[in-house]
């Protein structure tokens, strides 16, 4: 199973890209661990995770068509 993860704002400076594809991540905890191992600076970053355009506060299982995004603090306006 492959998951597309989208990055926004200052996270794109860390990741160097707006989108990353990950395999073998069955839930959001596994996804975070994989990302933090690959991009250590993510450990110091403030963000929330959105699954299917809704911010989640607890671990969530991921299906292959899930739209996952890491959102740093909003600064519109």
């Amino acid at each position: 199973m492959e998951i597309s993860v989208f990055f926004f704002g200052q996270l794109t400076d860390i990741i160097g890209s707006r989108q990353v594809r990950l395999s073998d991540v069955s839930d959001t905890d596994a996804l975070e661990n994989t990302l933090k191992a690959r991009y250590p600076m993510l450990r110091q970053s403030k963000y929330v995770i959105a699954v299917n355009r809704k911010i989640i506060r607890e671990k969530m299982d991921l299906t292959s068509n899930a739209e996952v995004a890491l959102l740093p603090p909003f600064s519109g306006g």
Partner: protein
């Protein structure tokens, strides 16, 4: 109050003043409106150390922003006796002195329009997935930080 239109429009680059006049003009036919409360955000030449902001580039998680704006609209239409809401937010680069946000609330009476406008602006800044990258005059960039009390940023 049934809403038929999209609440938020993204505009590539700065929002022209004429766009705001167009919004006002097209509400002119509604004789139940007594008050418009309009908020405009303009890019300010903020100091950044010994450098200065020259422009802001906005990016958004557009699909999520559209959905979230609908939820904000539902809450505001539920809470206040308003007749209309229209929001325009810039994407891409907006230079200092240019407008990046336009929020228009209409109502029969001024208090509902003003209170709803103020609350909508706060929610746009705190809940919409939009990010501002501040370009500096001398070099580089920094990421815009929003505060909720309106003290540090517009």
């Amino acid at each position: 109050m049934k809403r038929l239109n999209k609440l938020i429009f993204f505009n590539q680059g700065a929002i022209p003043a004429t766009r705001i006049a167009d919004i006002i003009q097209h509400h002119g036919s509604d004789i139940s409106i007594g008050a418009y409360s309009i908020f405009l955000g303009q890019v300010r030449a903020d100091l950044a150390g010994n450098d200065q902001v020259s422009a802001i580039s906005y990016t958004a998680y557009e699909d999520m922003a559209l959905e979230k704006m609908e939820a904000i609209g539902d809450a505001i239409f539920e809470k206040y006796a308003i007749t209309g809401m229209e929001v325009i937010h810039s994407l891409g680069e907006v230079a200092t002195g240019e407008i990046c946000l336009c929020v228009v609330l209409t109502a029969a009476h001024r208090k509902a329009a003003m209170d709803a406008c103020s609350e909508t602006v706060e929610l746009i800044k705190s809940e919409l997935p939009i990010w501002g990258k501040e370009h500096l005059t001398k070099e580089g960039h920094q990421w815009k930080i929003n505060t909720t009390n309106g003290k540090h940023h517009t």
